[in-house]
Amino acid sequence: MLLVLAAVALAVAPLFIKNDFYLDGFILVFVWAAFAGSWNIISGYCGMVSLGHNAFFGIGAYTSTLLLLRYGLTPWLGMLVGGGLAALVGLVLGIVCFRLRSHYFALATLAFGQVSFIVAINWRSLTGGAEGIALPIEPGLYNMASSSKLAYLYIGLALFLCVMLIFHVIERSRLGYYLTAFK
């Protein structure tokens, strides 16, 4: 009940913020909170500290952006494709690394994160190198783009609430008990 009230408060409060700078901060807060929540599932519940989570963030972001720019796939679907691809890469990394102890696991994931960073910088034809990919898209619902920052804030809030909902569901399910028993 308290969570529902907090969610409603979070949804209504940004309507009163007129300064774009604070809106920007809120958007980043929601996005990073969702990222931190996803890190918590493996490192908080299981105790296997993964230092290479930036790789998965980047894989999801680059996949959905490149699908939008090259094939015109809407980011609402592209984000699911990106998430699925990042989950696949995470599965492969997990098969390789999960039998290591916590220190070695942290270093292996750190090395993987650094490798993905260097690959992203040097593979200019795919990722645009260090300057990234420019987004010449017009605002609209199909592109998930908007000319005002308020829409982005609600997208970020929806992402954050989705992650919190997933947490809520996992923690009470059998998977949650399995994960907590790891520690």
């Binding site: 102890r101 090395a111 650094q114 490798v115 260097i118």
Partner: protein
Amino acid sequence: MWSADFRTISLNYLRNPIVLGPYPSLGIQELNVNPARVIAFILGLSLSIASYLFLKYSYTGKIIRATSQDRSAALLMGINIDKVYKLTFPIGILLVGVAGCLMIPIYTVHPFVGFEFVLVMFVVVVFGGMGSIVGAMIAGILIGIIEVFSSFLIGPGSKQAIYFLVFIAVLVIRPAGLFGVKGEEELERIEAID
């Protein structure tokens, strides 16, 4: 001096390269070696050997090794664990500080110069095996060779990726590192009962 500029020092005896003459029988025309690197190599190697001998043969070294193997057993044997930690950490920092000084003519000095080496340090220590100094020495030389050869063959932007990939491969095949105790990576460490 205390600003964010990149600085270095240049001394007279460090400026002229040592020329190892042409060896036509080996196919080498002329080999120039930077004396700063030679000094850094010799001093670094001798410090490593000195710390290895200290840890292996001196009484304090044996205390440190005992504490690292099993903390509660060391407590039971009468070793003051706090003093061991207070001694070991500064020794490590001393070695790193000397290494930083030796690197001044090779890398520039600026406030973030340490960050470039953090990842390499992790990789070298785990590559050689977590508890062994000989492993770290050999792993350091190996990773240096891998990095230089891959920068020559592939390009200087991707040289770090190669040794990270080698590192992941070694962790998969032999997770304890080259000289580590086999199976140590899967055992649970025995913690002290505090």
